[in-house]
Symmetry: C2
Amino acid sequence: MRVVHDIEEMRAISQKARAEGKTVGLVPTMGALHSGHIELARRAREECGIVIMSIFVNPIQFGPNEDYEAYPRTLKADAELAEEAGVDYIFAPDAKQMYPKEPLTSVDVGKLTEHLCGASRPGHFRGVATVVAKLFNITRPHRAYFGMKDAQQLRVLIRMNEDLNFGITIVPVPTVREADGLAISSRNTYLSREDRLRAVVLSRSLKLAERLVASGELDAGKIKSAMRDLIMSEVPDALIDYVEIVDDDTVQPIDKVDGKALVALAVRIGGTRLIDNVTVKA
Amino acid sequence: MRVVHDIEEMRAISQKARAEGKTVGLVPTMGALHSGHIELARRAREECGIVIMSIFVNPIQFGPNEDYEAYPRTLKADAELAEEAGVDYIFAPDAKQMYPKEPLTSVDVGKLTEHLCGASRPGHFRGVATVVAKLFNITRPHRAYFGMKDAQQLRVLIRMNEDLNFGITIVPVPTVREADGLAISSRNTYLSREDRLRAVVLSRSLKLAERLVASGELDAGKIKSAMRDLIMSEVPDALIDYVEIVDDDTVQPIDKVDGKALVALAVRIGGTRLIDNVTVKA
C-alpha cells in the first residue's frame, strides 16, 4: 500500500489503472478510521481492481463553530488499518493542495439539503458535494463507497452523481454498529465513558420507530414524539438537534409513513453531536 | 462524422478513444454554428486525435424572459459545417436526456460572476457552469475549446476547471470578427440589416478604449464615458446593459487600468443583446 499526497500523482495512478482495464474503487473518508470505514474498504476490495481510500479532513464542510481543528487526525494508524483492509492507495492531500486558491466554485444539491443536517449545518453539504466532486475528478473511480450512517450525505451524492453525469456507481454500505447498537462514528471517541453508554438510546429510539411502524403506527408526529420521549427519559441532558421522518427520496418531512421513509436523528450527548438513521417501509 | 444523441453512447465513444491513447477535444456549443465555432473546431482538429462538438441549447442558462425558445436551432446545417471543419462526433442530446429529473445540483463560481453578464443575467453562469460540468463528465476531454468573445464565461470555466480538479486543458480561442469588426455571434442573425451595420459601433468603442489606454489614459471612468458617448452618438436608441472595465483575473470593476484589464460591454441594438470585449494592458 502507498500513501500519495500529490493530486497529479494520484490522478496519474488512477488513469494508468483505468487504462489497464482495472475497476477503480474510491472510498472517501476523513480518516480516524473505524470499522465502518473498514467495511467500505473491504467491500471495495471485493469489487474493484484497485482501491483508493482518500483521507482528507475537508475544511469547507465544517461550520465556523464546528470541530475542524479538533477532528481526530491519525494518519499512521489509519494507514495500518487501511492496508489490512486491502486498500492499495491512500490519497491524503493537504488542505493547501486541495484549496490552493480561495475556492470560488461550489457544488450545491438543492432540496435534498433543506432539512435534517442541512438545516442545522448550513453550508455543510455544499462543502461535502464540492470536495467529493473534486475527489471524483482526481481519481475518476468506477465505483465509490459511502456509509449509510450519513444518510443525507449519501442521498446528496447519489443525486449529484446523476445530475452532473459523473457516471460513477455509488455503493451504499450498511452502518456498522457496536454490540449494543450504537452506530460507529469517528466522533464517538469524543464521548466520556458514561456518555458512551447512554448514547445507546439513539439506536434504541430508531428500533422503537421500526417497531411502531411494524405495528401499524404511521403517524410521523406520534412516532417522533415517542422517540423524543424515550431519548429524554433516558438522557435528560441530551440536546435534540432533530428527530425527523422524511421521504426516502426527496428528504422532505412527511406527516404519514407511506412507502419508504427515512427516520433520522441528530442528538448532542455530553456536547458530542451524534447522528443515526434507519429506513422504514409501510 | 457521426451525430450522437445518447449520453451513454457518447461516454463510451470518448472512453474508447482515451483508452486507445487518443487526445479527446471538446468544443461545447449551442449550435447555430458560425465562423467563430468553426475556428474552435479547426483548432481542436489540429491539436486532438478525436474532436467532439456538443450542440445543446441549454435551458438552465436562459432567464425566464430570454430567448431560449427563439434561439436558432439548425442541426442539419451545423452538421455540414462541423464535418467540413473536421469534427468527428457531434453530441446533440435533447433536454430530456440532459435533465431527466428536476436538476437539483448546480455548480456555482462565485465572485467571477458578480459583475458584467453575471449581474444582468442572474443564474446564467450557474446554468453554464452546470451544463459544462455535465459535458466534461460525459466526454472527459483532455482539451476543451472556448471563444474569447464570451470573456466572462471563459474565466468562469477556467476557474471551475481548476477549483474542481477536472484536469482539462482549457483552450481560449480569439474572437472571430466580420470584416467591419463586429464580433461574430449566433445572435447577429436577429439583427435587421440596418442594425447590423450600426452594430459595428461596439467593436469601434473597444478600439477606442485600446487607443485611449495606449495613449496613457488609465482612468476607467473616463474610458467608459468615452465609449458610452461614442455608442450613444452613433446609435441613439441603443440600450447599454453595461460598459465596464474589470480586473482580468478577478472580474471585479477597477477605477484605474493597472496591469491586465478586461474592457467588456453588453448593448441592445434593435432589441438584440450583443456582447464584446477586449483585453488591455497598462
